[in-house]
């Protein structure tokens, strides 16, 4: 069983994990927010566009309600999404035009996080991911 530990920076920023997204045009090393409160992994539309993705016949329209109102987006199947040392091929994510002021490329939600047993020790800024 593959295990990887990660010590995140000592700051009051949200917790982000390094990863990589591969698209038709290029691959990009990114930071994605660790968000167990999100039902689904979300990647910002401007990033998926820049990687060469477009909504296709397989895409579904999706919406999320939040304190900022209702947001609309669509699903995309990514060629590959890697988080830390774990790579997932042909993985479906939601693409939303997230507000620019939050300064994030996307977030890792429960659909991906549930694939792991996760040990989180915040006082040490320590996360350990064990792939189930």
């Amino acid at each position: 069983m593959k295990v990887e530990s990660y010590t995140y920076p000592d700051s009051d920023d949200v917790i982000s994990l390094p990863g990589k997204i591969s698209g038709p045009l290029r691959s990009q090393n990114v930071l994605l927010v660790f968000d167990p409160g999100a039902y689904r992994t979300i990647i910002k539309t401007s990033l998926t566009d820049a990687l060469g993705y477009q909504a296709g016949a397989e895409s579904k329209k999706v919406a999320t309600s939040s304190v900022i109102g209702k947001e609309y987006g669509y699903t995309l199947k990514l060629q590959k999404l890697s988080i830390l040392g774990f790579a997932f091929a042909d993985i479906e994510v939601a693409s939303f035009d997230l507000p620019e002021k939050y300064a994030i490329d996307g977030l890792i939600g429960l659909d991906l996080l549930k694939k792991f047993e996760i040990l989180w020790r915040h006082k040490d800024r320590f996360l350990e991911f064990r792939l189930l």
Binding site: L25, R26, V33, Y39, D49, V67, S82, L84, D105, L107
Partner: protein, 80 residues
């Protein structure tokens, strides 16, 4: 051009989206140093620029400022 340490890039390009065309990363994928090819404080303008440049070139992208996400994404997503 020489690659700069990530700490120096953060200081030099405050509150900017930074694209690096060459970079070194640690075992987790965190960027440790890189060659800065493009920066922009606006994320949307930044990605709009990347669409027309660096064709088929892998990139590392980071924001050098504070990342603040309010509690708004802790929601289910339904089909619209």
């Amino acid at each position: 051009m020489e690659m700069k340490p990530w700490k120096k890039i953060k200081q030099e390009y405050k509150d900017q989206w930074v694209a690096m065309t060459e970079w070194e990363e640690d075992e987790h994928g965190d960027v440790t140093k890189g060659y800065v090819a493009y920066t922009n404080p606006s994320q949307n303008a930044f990605y709009e620029y990347l669409k027309g440049h660096f064709p088929k070139k892998d990139l590392a992208v980071r924001f050098t400022g504070k990342v603040r996400v309010p509690l708004l994404f802790g929601t289910a997503i339904e089909e619209a």
